[in-house]
Symmetry: D2
Subunit: 429 residues, 4 copies
């Protein structure tokens, strides 16, 4: 029987009331702020309230270097989270909120896939509770204040050729990448070259993900460097006297969002820094809450173990003080074959037929990427488990090739079919 589409599965899901999910996770009702029927914000006071509870095992989920095919990192995180209830354990997952930008492009959605999704899918993919918008607004408020400062005489002596703070928009809008602002007339500002980045690349987003409290966020906002004077001295948001307002605009956004998976696993969805150009990890405060909510906390690190996971170990954990207990590395047959360099894959096009044939040599060739990621993980002192995200139609020989690579590094591996089978499919792991 064919697997229904992601959308069909998501739409037919029963979404449990969020207070029920919170109760499952042990989060006191008074720290919950409902946002419609699909999500709730968890107040940071919950960290204090939950302090007495035992810590969950802290597991980071990463993957091989991304290919246009998608390796199913989020899907696996969701699947793993769901799997624990199949073995009598409780788990919470912590993932990032996706950017609307690429979502309206090719990918179509970032809520996971198949029977391992966060629901409601449309809420997850769109505004959710408005955090992305708040980050965008806070970032752009800083830019507006900066340009207004130039307009009103530039008392700080900012060098207009050395302004590093651009604007952001949560959409893939290429026409805004490089623009000239301040045109028009006497009332329209000072002309200069600038542009927009995607919100997921905003330093405000990274700071929000790394903040441990609202006060800490306030400090991080103040420390933001927006440019330099003609003497090459840095100019900060504090100098512009805008850091306080930026923080006010983020007052709600700093609270993690509670959602659920298709099987009712609690999912903390919070902040969305890109892995290739920013920290690539969901928020510290979400993990600080999640670590007290069950037997396991699965937290996702984006864009390849060498990018997201490296920052997880070296940046996020240093700030948060949390110590990971295990690491999962997601790999797929098709992803490793793509890394062999033998196929030309175009996003949105059908896979080349040659890629679908059994060919363990190709898996081994592309397996160098997996090997290097395994080495990377071991540098950080954890022995990774390889989660083989098995797709319908994957060949046994190819799957075994991945298992052999994992074994070379003394890493346990397991095939997961959570896409087709939900949590049960990842229970082996």
């Amino acid at each position: 029987m064919a697997i229904p589409s992601d959308l069909e599965i998501a739409n037919s899901a029963t979404v449990l009331p969020l207070p029920q999910i919170a109760e499952l996770a042990g989060i006191p009702r008074q720290h919950l702020e409902l946002y419609g029927h699909g999500a709730a914000k968890v107040q940071l006071e919950a960290i204090e309230s939950l302090a007495g509870r035992p810590d969950a095992k802290y597991v980071v989920v990463s993957a091989i270097t991304p290919t246009p095919l998608g390796e199913g990192k989020t899907t696996t995180t969701v699947g793993l989270g769901q799997a624990f209830s199949h073995i009598g354990k409780s788990a919470t997952i912590a993932i990032r909120q996706p950017s609307m930008g690429p979502t309206f492009g090719i990918k179509g959605g970032a809520a996971g896939g198949g029977y391992s999704q966060v629901v409601p899918m449309d809420l997850f993919n769109l505004h959710l509770t408005g955090d992305m918008h708040a980050v965008t607004a806070a970032h752009n408020l800083c830019a507006a204040v900066l340009d207004a400062h130039l307009f009103h005489g530039n008392d700080l002596g900012i060098d207009i050729h050395n302004i590093t703070w651009r604007r952001v928009v949560d959409i893939n809008d290429r026409a805004l990448r490089n623009i000239t602002v301040g045109l028009g007339g006497r009332l329209d500002g000072i002309p200069r070259e600038s542009g927009f980045d995607i919100t997921a690349a905003s330093e405000v987003m990274a700071a929000l993900a790394l903040a441990t409290s609202l006060q800490d966020l306030r400090n991080k906002m103040g420390a933001i460097v927006v440019g330099y004077t003609k003497d090459d001295k840095p100019v900060t948001a504090e100098d512009l006297e805008v850091a306080g307002s930026m923080t006010v605009m983020l007052r709600e956004a700093i609270k993690p969002n509670l959602m659920q998976t298709l099987e009712g696993t609690p999912a903390l969805v919070h902040t969305g820094p890109f892995g290739n150009i920013a920290t690539g990890n969901s928020s510290i405060v979400a993990d600080q809450i999640g670590i007290k909510t069950g037997d396991f906390l699965l937290t996702e690190a984006g864009f390849g173990a060498d990018m997201g996971a490296e920052r997880f170990f070296n940046i996020k954990c240093r700030y948060s003080g949390l110590v990971p207990d295990a690491a999962v590395l997601v790999a797929t047959v098709r992803g490793l074959k793509a890394h062999s360099g033998k196929h030309r894959i175009v996003a949105g096009r059908p896979l080349p037929a040659a890629l679908l044939k059994e060919n363990p040599d190709e898996v081994h060739a592309g397996g160098d990427n997996l090997r290097k990621q395994l080495e990377n993980m071991k540098i950080h002192g954890v022995t990774p488990v390889v989660a083989i995200n098995e797709f319908p139609g994957d060949n046994t020989g190819d799957l075994q090739a991945i298992e052999q690579i994992a074994a070379e590094y003394g890493a346990r591996s397991a095939r997961c079919t959570h896409f087709s089978n939900g949590g049960a499919g990842a229970a082996e792991l």
Copy 2:
């Protein structure tokens, strides 16, 4: 005793649970979606559910032409709403959501003032439930699709010199008013001149305010003209195949937000088109719900009776089918004195001493503005009531001058002290 500041009053307010406010207004619990503790969205299905209830008296509140002093239109609407409970009647108010742009500038807040405010004040003034952001995102999605269309070969033959669709941002950012987009290189779009307007001026915002259903909004999105071909044929969002996505992004934003006044009066806060450059009225769907929630529905029309109220009668009511029962015109001694042209008033500076002295002649001179507004109202078939928003320190002679002007036009007038005294102060009216 001095009146505490707006902020002090707002912060010391007891905010009732929204379900309790909804119950007061007769809105069924199942149509309520809580958004944190201060606001809730009311689903449009409520219109159907409430159809059997009697209509409230429909009262539009407008004012003389705005001055930098603020005439207290929102404050009076709130005060009036609160006043009805003092005379044993139930009322709901319907007002617009303020733009963050000017809020971060001089004005400081738009939630009303003194003891006549909508609370929580900070929620009201900032993101609320994210509607502003959704309008911004939908508007800018259309712009991004338009520029992407140009980039991918411009099959529609759009004349780049005749594109009328700009982008919007919910902040007063003068450097973005006139920009050149599409600079950079081969992957960065087609260069052209464009710019950003404030979100409150977006056609998407106006359409949201005038939509009577999600389907109607979908149609309005499709009909948006973004520019013209070289043959001067209009090009629409429908032609760009973006109208559906825009509507999806507005799916939550179309639901009115329920809040409350300091005295627990239900307040529907929804959409924020500016009165000087757009329709200046809150949404039709908010009024369609509010009209079934008590004895009176007070709806505010922005930026002077000749702007906002004119559009209320000629645009909003024609779309909604609702017929106003009464009109209130807010006037102040200081506002009319400002209209006399004898004083130089700068926003944010203390009032000129001369303006505070008793001088009925000046009130009569500036009273021409009030006279014209009274005439305007009568054209639309309603006899207005003049609400004299009395400030502490106003002189009797000056107040009487306003009463005389109202009497010239056969309009009833009443002094209101709702700023100092809350609803009790507006009960006379």
Copy 3:
């Protein structure tokens, strides 16, 4: 027999050695600087050397308001100049150098036409002796110094939104009309909006045309206002310390160029300010030399008697001190018919057939333009002579209509066939 094309006539012309032309005009050889075989510059010292000679009759040639058809103002000036030798008198003509801009566009040439041309035609229409380029270079040097001043700290406090000095180019280049300059990086200047005008519109060109000596030109360069400070104080080229360099660059350009007509009449060709946007007259120094070179000096005033001639009387003559003895107004049957508003004429397209039919009423209708120009001339105290530039195929009734209009104002009129017949055709006048 068909009249050969302008180019054929020009190319078959015998061009006399310039020293011979100068001798004819009484200009001493030592004041002549040859520039190739077709032109020579006359040193300003000639003014002093010729001081003792008698003044020529000073005749200004103007026309009805220009139409796309061309009224033959230059052609008539040349034809008249040539005509004097047919009646035993000596004449010199003084005309402007054309801009290359429109020349490379539709018009094709500005040297006159038919048998009444200045030769060599290509020299006349292209670089001539480089005066246009010198004006362009001096103008743009000032702009470069201005932008360098902004770049180096803007000690003069120039308001970048209130810079009135643009750049110029001697070509019709629409892409340069509105540009943003100073883009790039730290070494590439200060971004601002600016643009290029055509060289013929440069204030440097107007100043060169009105200068009475190199020292006077130096003063005029220094007085050029390039923009304003933020306090609205004017900033001059003198303030930028560039006026001296600009003058140096114009040292050759201030010397009038001596050329000749097809019949060997001396032609002083000097400066080219447009008549619609600048002074529209050739230089004062050319007239100061020409006034001493024969019985008549014919000087052309551009773009309609109400534009060029008005500035001739009110600006040029006041600076030069010369007093006109007579004024010629050129009119054509087709030009007046075009002014009737009954025909749609497109430059470069064949004339509408209807316009070529005899129709004196149409001439009378369009004749209002001629009437007003005649009135304008009389205001300045000279009674104009109407030169009817007769084209092959013009109808008698139409020509008589012009004569009637002239007679209404007591002006003498004469039909001229100089285009077909050279100087002999204008001898009646």
Copy 4:
């Protein structure tokens, strides 16, 4: 006795009539077109007329890599040219026309220096006969036609992101380096990013320098690539149908300019491509004329032997067919010391005192530059002569160091004092 300034020397020079200079060089009078009193153009027909005369020895003068100090390449070329008459030989020099851009900057002039200059100095440094302006105009005509082509529908399908043809200006105007053109409105062109280079870098300039006839120039203009279509096919000036007009604008500019040195040596001054970014050599046609005008033709190759001279051998000579007989390499004590990397030299500031002390080791250290240039020259089959341009105050030990370096490569060397002593000072060489 102190040496007078360059300007004093130049102004006190006796400038001989150009026909006399031409006669000295054997150029028939009928091929001479006088341009004022200081220069004349030589018609290309002179090449044919002179064909029967014997060839001069063809000597290329180059130098070590330029430093901010100036090595006196032009000065030495002039000095050498003058020197031949001191040993009873006739010589002609061929040099480039300088750009006005840097001339109005730091350098002050490019006519040579001291008693080895081309005169009149101001004519040489400014417009000369307008060739620079003609190149600028032809180049920019092409750009204007290109933008007009885009404006009128872009039938050639030019990719606006892949246009390689910019505009040029003969001035150092940093604000024009990177600009956005085509702004404004419907009539103002298509917006795109572009900019201005200096005229000396124009491909038109390089083509003019390498053209062997007007027809050849016409072909070169047609072959100019202005950009590419979206299919990456080149688009030429021929495709734009502008190559003919460009050639017409260069009709005078292709004729070499005849001037003279302070001692009356004929100097052909023609074209000015920069050596660092273009071909760096004066024109082929000037050399083709000069090669028939005496015992020696000294032609200058700009910007270091590795730049200008390399292009002389590999590009210019291949096009012209002329074969060099000898090569002169100019070196200075101060230049080699600067190349040692031990001194910080800023253009326009006094030399560091340390650099002026005798220090042969430093000369040897910086001498690596001279060594490599000597090697470069030998690759092309000529043994260079090192001309040591001796400055007053140079120390004997330092001068001897240069002689030692030359001797290492078997190259003859000679000290020249032409700056102080004119031609006599270079006679040794």
